[in-house]
Amino acid sequence: MKDAIGFAFLGMGAGGFIALMATGLVVAFKGSGVINFSHGAVAMYAAFTYNYLRLDGTIRLPLIDILPTHQANIPVRISLASGGPVDKWLAIVISLLMSVLIGAGMHYLVFKPLRNAAPLGKVIGAIGVMLYLQGIALVNFGAENPQPESILFPGDVFTNFLGFGKPLPFESLALAVVAALVGLLLWFNYKFTRFGLATRAAAGNEKGAVLLGYSPERLALSNWVIAAVTAGVAGVFVGSITGALNVVKFTTLIVPALGAALIGSLSSVPIAIAGGIGIGMLQTVVATWMTGQSWFPQWLQSGATDAIPLVIIVLVLFLRGKALPVRGNIQEKRLPLSPYPKRIGWYVAVFVPLGAILAFGLPGDFIFAGLSGKWGFAFTTTLIGAMLMLSYVLLAGYVGQISMVQLSIAGVAAFFMARMTANGTPTPEDPFAVSGPGLAWPIAAILGIIVAVAVGIILGIPALRIRGVQLAVVTIAAAVALQTLYFDNSKLTNLMAGSNAAVPSPTFFGIDIGSTGSAGLTDSPKFALFCVIMLAIMCTIVSNLRRGSTGRRFLAVRANERAAASAGVDVPRTKLLAFGLASALAGMAGVMTAFQQQQISSANWVYFAGLVTLAFAYLGGITSVSGAVIGGVLTGSGLVAVFGAHQSEGLHSYTPVLGGVGMILTAILHPSGQSMLYQPIVQYFGNWLKRARGREWAGVGRRLGPFIVIGLVWGAIGINPWRTDDWSRPWMMALGAFLALFIRNLVILIRSGGHRELGAAEATQEAAA
């Protein structure tokens, strides 16, 4: 036991870091009701800022110079010391000021506009900020992994700390002390100052705070800045304890911090601090001492440390579920409306043949030979992505349950199916063969989906007591635990040496419907058709669910659980039903992914990717089946991603940044997602096309033609010579035309005082209508 206690003290450094991170999460939640998944990214940016100030004396602002010229530039780098390092304490101050800047920016640009958004919208905003900061860091700091210097007592060590026989670096203790001091300061601030009392008042009842004359926005700004500074302190002072810096490191450490924040009920800074230090010490003891004991279960050795936050979070939620605060807001928007699906049969009748044409091409391959190579792969990836998105639509869109574990549940189905099809026979291609019963693929796939449903229902149990962002926290912790306890656990998967799980190619009455095409590429049209049919079936099921009594019960629970219960809806049963059905959909996506890739590993289902997948579902439109399809199109390695990479080599480095900005803008401007955005536009232009004859087309040509021509010329001779990339001239011409049209519309908008942005013809048509 003395040994264990000694190791526990060695975990004080990690604990101090977790505590500081938890503090920031609590402060942000108090200030604006957001569980800030981007908190780790803020800490990362501050840490990188400090590191580069000490390295070359340069400040890298969290911006990108998006102007494609040498003449006009947005300043991104500020050099302070002619290439030399700046003083340590000055670097600390500047890094914390950077945190202030980021915190204020987050408030004004993201969370203020989202102040009254649905909890899911705020989650998407936070994920957007996280992606933005990570992408900016990658652009500004590169992919270097520098070792940060120690700030607090470098080199000093207690040789036998408190007589437990273990040394303890001063730095570890100092970080825990810094965390405690920050906690004490914030506790004093929130307990005794006018600002603190006002924040607590606003957190409890924002309307009441407004009536007392406090501005919730100013309070939120102050709290965002404080939260960002605590992240900055954590990032800068953690120094060499967490080791090499990288763009995602602190983000992946957010889960234990969320656990600590929940121990403090998302309201108590001192308890969150104590919880954070405790979690750090406990994880260290488990990792270095407990797992080495003979009594410790072998199968738990992998992942026991990472499962601790989930255990703590679930315990806290069960013990204190009703006491957890649901922060008061002046007005909280609900999720966007879930449209009633119409004409499903027609959509399927169009979608399946269209999918078949995309897969196989047109007869004779004269005009179109079908999608092949990377396009064929992107097509099936899109279809499978849409299947996964359907699970989010059902669970989050229809029932309002924010789950971040759907991707992991897909992985459960895939891994289980792979094990069921395995027969333990090694081959030259797969020398590390996995033992298994060698079942036929349909049976194995069904078993995989059943297991996924079981896991989904178990993970849905916490949802009976909690909802909203707290459920999101539980599910992300569950995703971490699934990854380390199952996917990475060779004792359970039997996967040796980190090898992939092989999945056999499916056959249908002797016909190979696997993903391998004739040239060996992953572009088999038969598999694409298999995906099209499965997606059509799943879309039909989900649409019919929405149209039927089950869908009405789902929406009733989403709207108001108490009202639903009073109307006779069995809320717990409805929620668990939704978790089960959503898990079946996710499981189907997992099984199809396994068939597509034929080799799967834990990397397919990284918990971190689950956040981004949820964001894609939201971008597409989380409340509709069409949104799921668009979400699938947007998914990583899907059609949009491949098209983007194909057309825009120069944009590759900016993908995470643009993705983050896109998420933030969607959450703010169009929370119902892309599908709802396109719907009226498509309808409007569809109607116009139906009406348009030669005269209308000529009118468009007269109005826009000159601007397009001017733009093309401008692009060719005005923009092209100034560009600094390797883009071809036609793209610069297209850019010129786009900018010319944009400026034209902007001028019309300004001249008309913002009332006539569509131009005279449209106005005339509207008047006629």
Partner: protein, 505 residues
């Protein structure tokens, strides 16, 4: 008139047209952003003009020097002829390009290594501009065909890995160069498409065990490096000291489990005589030797406790292999607890990070690294031919790299060397420049000399590591300012000869 909900939440009794106008208004700001975004196509820095040091001009030999082949391996003479002729007079490649595909993780926050492709492109430019491309005849001054590098940048996820394999395979390349790939799920696609694959930095199990795949990067991944670490520590540092205590912290990742158990723990058991199934001459040479393995999870919040566990064992020596920066996180943990290099520490070559090492300076003076020779400091190399080629790397890399910082990065070096190796092998094929011919040539190589690296010996690859072609390693010692090579071209594979695989189950 239909009632629709506007984007700001209030109900708007407006027509579809008005609704669309509302949409348009709301998209003025995004449109500006979009316009600016489109404008961002051009945001890259103009490359500065490079200054190339003048290489000493050499006469162009009429034929490859067979003596060089005998001394440095097959192909050394041909390589030297090409290099010398290129120095004497640049020979620019002509004709239809030969496509070489390269897939590399870039632009993903989880990991981005643009230096790999930057330096690979630099090698291609060097070959095409000065060395006459593939199949040049230096005796007559007839140029060969230029190489065209097709790059597929991928995010670090399995789907993107397969996407890149599909994309490159569709371009019908002669060979695909897989830089570093954590998944190994691309091999089947490329093998099915009958396209040979060479691996620069073997990481995933498939990199070592997939037939038709050839890990050409120096060091041979954990197979060569881990056994090399044990060989160097026990033989050269500890001199087979009896009753020695050896600590082996290891990266707790799925491949790490295997690499530790099969390639570190097992050879140590061979040395102390507890693993009888061995044919090594060193078997049982360290009777009474004990060892401890300490798993270290990459990305942990704090590894101080792990470091303490290692030091508590009071080891006579330690070896550690991890992914780059994780090494120094652990070394910092050791330093904080009072460790000094008086207790020898041997790190893998993947740990070499000169910036960090220079910052630590004398604190780590005396530590060793084992792996592929670092060619960044040519004067520290023992082999004169490798030294010459390393100097050419420095000069030509500097001349042709579009981003000069890539030149001094480990993966940048591998990118350049990998393409040079592909070019060397392709030159040997004559007019049979096809994937199957290249596959056949590579899989039959024995001590094939490669540019500034150790030789390819794919024919001698041992099951199940059938893809590992280059498991020879070298050792270097840190003198407080630089790494100096102390032992060249050795292997620890003998320590596991005749043993059963140990997966660490």
């Amino acid at each position: 008139m239909p009632v629709v909900t506007s984007t700001i939440g209030h109900t708007c009794p407006c027509s579809q047209g008005e609704h669309l106008k509302n949409h348009m208004k709301r998209y003025v700001v995004p449109a500006i952003l979009a316009a600016l975004t489109v404008g961002s196509f051009g945001v890259t820095n103009a490359s500065a003009k490079s200054a190339t040091p003048k290489a000493a001009s050499k006469a162009c030999p009429a034929a490859p020097d067979a003596a060089l082949d005998a001394k440095y391996g097959v192909g050394a003479g041909a390589l030297e002829q090409a290099l010398a002729c290129g120095e004497a007079k640049k020979l620019k490649a002509k004709g239809d390009p030969v496509i070489v595909g390269i897939m590399n993780p870039e632009g993903d926050p989880a990991g981005s290594f643009p230096e790999y492709t930057v330096m690979a492109q630099a090698a291609v430019d060097y070959i095409n501009t000065e060395l006459g491309g593939i199949g040049a005849d230096y005796a007559t001054g007839t140029p060969g065909r230029p190489i065209q590098l097709e790059v597929c940048k991928m995010a670090i996820n399995p789907a993107d890995s397969q996407k890149c394999a599909n994309e490159l395979a569709a371009k019908k390349p002669l060979v695909v160069y897989s830089t570093l790939n954590f998944f190994g799920n691309h091999f089947k696609i490329l093998n099915d498409a009958k396209i040979p694959v060479v691996v620069g930095t073997p990481i995933s199990p498939g990199d070592f065990t997939t037939p038709g795949v050839y890990a050409i990067g120096g060091g041979g991944g954990c197979l060569g490096v881990h056994t090399g670490l044990i060989e160097y520590l026990t033989n050269d540092v500890l001199k087979y000291k009896a009753n020695a205590k050896i600590a082996v912290p290891w990266a707790n990742t799925p491949p790490g489990v295997f690499c530790y158990h099969d390639l570190e723990k097992k050879p140590l058991n061979v040395l102390n005589g507890t693993n009888g199934k061995n044919t090594s001459k060193a078997a049982g040479k360290m009777k009474g030797m004990t060892h401890i393995g300490v798993p270290i999870k990459p990305g942990s919040a704090d590894v101080t406790a792990d470091a303490q566990k290692v030091l508590e064992f009071k080891p006579d020596g330690m070896v550690y292999s991890a992914q780059g920066a994780d090494c120094w996180t652990f070394v910092n943990g050791l330093l904080k607890l009072g460790w000094t290099p008086a207790t020898p520490l041997v790190l893998s070559g993947a740990c070499i990070d000169l910036t960090t090492m220079r910052a630590l300076g004398d604190k780590i003076k005396g530590i060793y690294t084992v792996g592929a020779s670092s060619i960044l400091d040519p004067d520290a190399l023992i082999d004169p031919q490798q030294r010459r080629e390393a100097k050419i790397y420095g000069a030509k890399g500097k001349k042709y790299a579009k981003d000069k910082t890539s030149l001094e990065k480990g993966f940048g070096t591998q990118g350049f060397l990998g393409i040079m190796t592909v070019w060397q092998v392709a030159n040997e094929l004559g007019k049979k420049l096809t994937g199957p011919a290249l596959t056949k040539y590579i899989e039959n190589t024995t001590k094939f000399h490669t540019f500034a690296s150790t030789g390819l010996s794919c024919k001698k690859a041992v099951a199940p590591y059938v893809a590992v072609c280059n498991s020879t390693v070298s050792a270097s010692k840190w003198n407080g300012k630089a790494l100096k090579q102390v032992k060249e071209n050795f292997s620890g594979l003998g320590l596991i000869a005749g043993t059963d695989l140990d997966f660490g189950k």
